[in-house]
């Protein structure tokens, strides 16, 4: 049963004219969709799976149904990667985000294929992949610029040098948009890591294929393992653990479910993790990208140091 349905989907690809495949005697190799934790591709520790389908009811794949334990493992991995990633030169982060865009560009066809399996028209799928690539380029450029825009040297009245700079918050747990399964995913990950954070992302439940393939892109992009960790599964099961976890610094939620939003804000109080709802953002438009998304997951640190004050009074900046 399962085999036939997947064969059908590969047939539908050729119908769409993307690839000319002859169904000869060769058996097609199917992809196992696994999750991405700490730079590795494990299956969920729970051994569970679910089968998302397209609008016509066609099975997409057997996808890992990640558990709370997977999430905890991913947070441990992400925490371990914070100091290395945030300690890299902003310029280096910029180059790595650019490299991610390069890799994504190179695998465009596969993403278009997957988006089409998940009900997108060819034109729409192509547009989404192009936008996703461009979004990575956009944030690659921001990596070493947003600090200059949002920092300040503060003219304090006393004889001190005083400046404020943005710093990454740490580990950010993200529940990605359900629609725009590739563009939405890229749009929430890119600003978070551009700012030096690491993250754990729960991909679209209904359209998870691109997220796993995107993890493969990350894996070949010089991005250190564990900076981005991607889980597949159900927000309804995992959302509360995302906000319960005491070693998560911020949470992003992209759906307009007021019950879940309320629950998340309530639970975020446990360790006062920052919480952001991106439920009104139209990711395919210009409002889907801005340095203000980077700034959401930044803390402002202010540093003071005295200035020797011998020759004149009140020396400062």
């Amino acid at each position: 049963m399962e085999k036939t349905s997947i064969k059908k989907s590969s047939l539908s690809i050729s119908e769409n004219g993307l690839e000319k495949k002859k169904l000869s005697g060769r058996l097609e190799v199917l992809k196992t969709y696994k999750i991405y934790i700490g730079g590795q591709f494990p299956r969920t520790e729970s051994g569970r799976y679910y089968i998302p389908t397209n609008a016509a009811g066609k099975k997409l794949a057997n996808v890992c149904l990640s558990s709370r334990k997977d999430f905890r493992d991913a947070v441990v991995a992400a925490r371990g990667a914070v100091s290395g990633w945030s300690g890299r030169a902003a310029f280096n982060r910029s180059q790595i985000l650019y490299r991610m865009a390069e890799m994504l560009e190179g695998r465009k066809a596969q993403f278009i294929d997957e988006l089409m399996q998940q009900d997108a028209s060819k034109a729409k799928a192509e547009k989404e992949v192009n936008l996703a690539i461009d979004r990575l380029i956009y944030y690659a450029g921001w990596c070493d610029k947003f600090q200059q825009l949002f920092s300040s040297v503060n003219p304090v009245a006393s004889s001190h040098f005083n400046f404020s700079v943005p710093e990454p918050m740490g580990v950010v747990a993200i529940i990605a948009p359900q629609n725009d399964s590739l563009l939405g995913l890229v749009s929430v990950i890119a600003p978070v890591i551009a700012g030096g954070n690491t993250c754990v992302v729960l991909a679209s439940e209904t359209k998870p294929l691109c997220s796993v393939t995107f993890a493969e892109v990350l894996n070949s992009s010089d991005l250190p393992g564990a900076v981005v960790n991607i889980l597949t599964g159900k927000p309804s099961e995992l959302a509360s653990w995302f906000v319960d976890h005491m070693d998560v610094n911020a949470t992003i939620y992209c759906e307009n479910n007021s019950e879940v939003q309320k629950m998340m804000r309530e639970k975020s109080a446990q360790n006062l993790k920052r919480i952001f709802f991106y439920d009104k953002v139209k990711w395919e438009t210009g409002e889907g990208q801005s340095p203000y998304f980077i700034m959401d997951c930044q803390e402002i640190k202010t540093t003071w140091h005295p200035i020797e004050n011998i020759a004149s009074a009140g020396g400062g900046y």
Binding site: L149, S152, N154, P155, V156, A157, S158, H160, N162, S164, M169, N249, S258, Q261, K262, M263, M264, R265, E266, S268, A269, Q270, N271, L272, R274, S290, P291, Y292, E299, I300, K301, T302, T303, W304, H305, P306
Partner: protein
């Protein structure tokens, strides 16, 4: 090297202020301040009786004498204040040209300066803090804060690149008792400069200067309802937090209450900024100028009786200089003048309330039980009022409660370390992240440390410095949002 150290040691003179120096009393006069017998609620530009007709006493914590009676605002009074603020927002304040808004705020700043002496006396009478701090820090910094934000009112389009801003609406603001007037300024000035209107509640033990500020605001001609100041305790605060027509909650206080507020506003569209507790690490490296560092540590923890959320309550001293630092700290502790807050020579005033004194005593017991060594100044303290001698614990372990929990009193915990990595690990091992300090003569080490410490404000070779242009606020469980400076504007605007 060893001989050098010996010489350095013998050069240190033990300070004996008690015998070689003495200070004659130098009390500030109470007559320069007017305190009414009773204060009502400041709503819609007028003084209004509380609906329940209930009043509570406010006392001088240095003498336990009653200073005045303060109205207790009920839920109905909160509602009245929010309605006034809403009407002022919709009909007047939102529409007023920003440059006119600015001029009202400049005027308030000036009037605080004019009445600075009176405000300082009342601050010390009502809160117990030394007049020197009220006079030289609290009151001028409060005036400066209004002055700083006044100028932002008509320049907001420069503050957020490529964006415009709009005010949020009505802000509910709840402030603590440690810097009563200054916290009112930190809350009100940016809120009204950005076009919001305000309902502010001071802490129940220290309402007087906020009510004096209400008088100033009334005198300034600020349109009625733009700033409403209502008094009361926790129940009044809860009524503000839960009022459905409030758009933003700004709270400064304990982390516990901050968490309650975050839960309470879940499911609403209320925005929040929370400025909560702290347990700041103050780190002394062996190459630091030790005498300056000791002064900085003293200022860091004993400033305002230690009732400071960013107080440097955890001292980390590099092992090689620990003995010397501890000895000098003890000497300095002994020379601190504890007593009458109105005396201009006083270093440490009264503990703000009986309740807070009990909390501090509880932690002194905990510290002793945990096996730390307690050292207190031998200074005399007055019989009446609430007093705590400046206290220092040595032999403190990282896991001790006195090294983990906020005491909010003049109590220092001293710990030691050997390496940079170790002290960073220890300093960041705290749910809090409000402030931190580092003392070293080496520039590259300063930046290494200030970068790695997870705290919103980091003082290097200084401590407890504040300025209206300098953003203040915490990481982690010390809350979120910034107050002061350019970054403090974000708390009160929608960026569109």
């Amino acid at each position: 090297m060893a001989t050098k150290k010996k010489i350095a040691k013998s050069n240190t003179i033990k300070l004996k202020f008690d015998t070689s120096w003495s200070y004659a009393p130098a009390p500030e006069s109470k007559s320069a301040a007017t305190i009414n017998k009773q204060y009502d609620l400041f709503i819609n530009g007028e003084w209004q009786k509380p609906s329940g007709n209930k009043y509570f006493d406010t006392i001088n914590p240095a003498t336990e004498e009653k200073l005045s009676e303060i109205a207790e605002a009920s839920t109905a009074d909160v509602d009245k204040a929010v309605k006034a603020a809403r009407a002022a927002y919709e009909k007047v304040w939102k529409k007023m040209p920003a440059k006119e808004r600015a001029k009202y705020i400049f005027r308030i700043a000036r009037m605080i300066q004019e009445k600075a002496r009176e405000l300082a006396i009342i601050e010390s009478l009502d809160g117990g803090k030394p007049i020197r701090e009220s006079r030289d820090f609290d009151v001028p910094t409060a005036a400066n804060h209004f002055f700083y934000y006044a100028g932002w009112a008509d320049k907001l389009e420069y503050a957020f690149p490529n964006r415009t801003t709009e005010p949020l609406g009505v802000a509910g603001q709840i402030i603590p008792w440690n810097f009563p007037l200054l916290m009112a300024a930190w809350k009100i000035a940016p809120a009204i400069a950005t076009g919001n209107t305000v309902v502010l509640k001071p802490a129940e033990t220290t309402s007087l200067t906020a009510l004096k500020l209400a008088e100033i605001i009334q005198e300034s001609g600020l349109p009625p309802g733009v700033v409403n100041i209502i008094t009361g305790a926790g129940a009044t605060g809860a009524a503000i937090v839960n009022h459905p027509d409030i758009n933003k909650i700004a709270f400064t206080g304990s982390t516990d209450v901050g968490k309650i507020i975050q839960r309470a506003i879940a499911g609403t569209n209320k925005k929040a900024t929370l400025e909560l507790g702290g347990k700041a690490a103050n780190i002394i490296f062996e190459d630091a100028p030790i005498d300056q560092a000791v002064e900085g540590v003293i200022n860091g923890i004993y400033f305002n009786q230690g009732h400071v959320c960013c107080a440097g309550s955890r001292l980390y001293v590099q092992e090689s200089v620990a003995k010397e630092v501890i000895r000098k700290l003890k000497d300095r502790l002994e020379s601190l003048i504890v007593g009458d807050p109105l005396d201009k020579n006083t270093d440490i005033g009264a503990i703000n309330s009986k309740g807070q004194l009990e909390t501090i005593h509880k932690y002194l017991d905990i510290g002793k039980k945990e096996g730390a060594e307690m050292y207190q100044s031998s200074c005399p303290v007055p019989n009446k009022g609430f007093w705590c001698r400046p206290t220092m614990f040595t032999n403190v372990a990282q896991s001790n409660r006195i090294a983990q929990e906020e005491i909010f009193g003049p109590v220092l915990s001293v710990l030691t370390f050997r390496t940079d990595d170790e002290v960073i690990e220890k300093a960041n091992n705290s749910p809090y992240g409000l402030s931190a300090g580092v003392w070293t003569d080496k520039g590259s080490k300063i930046f290494n440390m200030t970068r790695r410490m997870r705290a919103g404000v980091v003082w290097a070779n200084t401590f407890n410095k504040f300025d209206p242009s300098s953003p203040f606020g915490g990481y982690k469980e010390s809350g979120f949002g910034r107050e002061g400076g350019l970054h403090g504007l974000s708390a009160y605007v929608n960026v569109v």
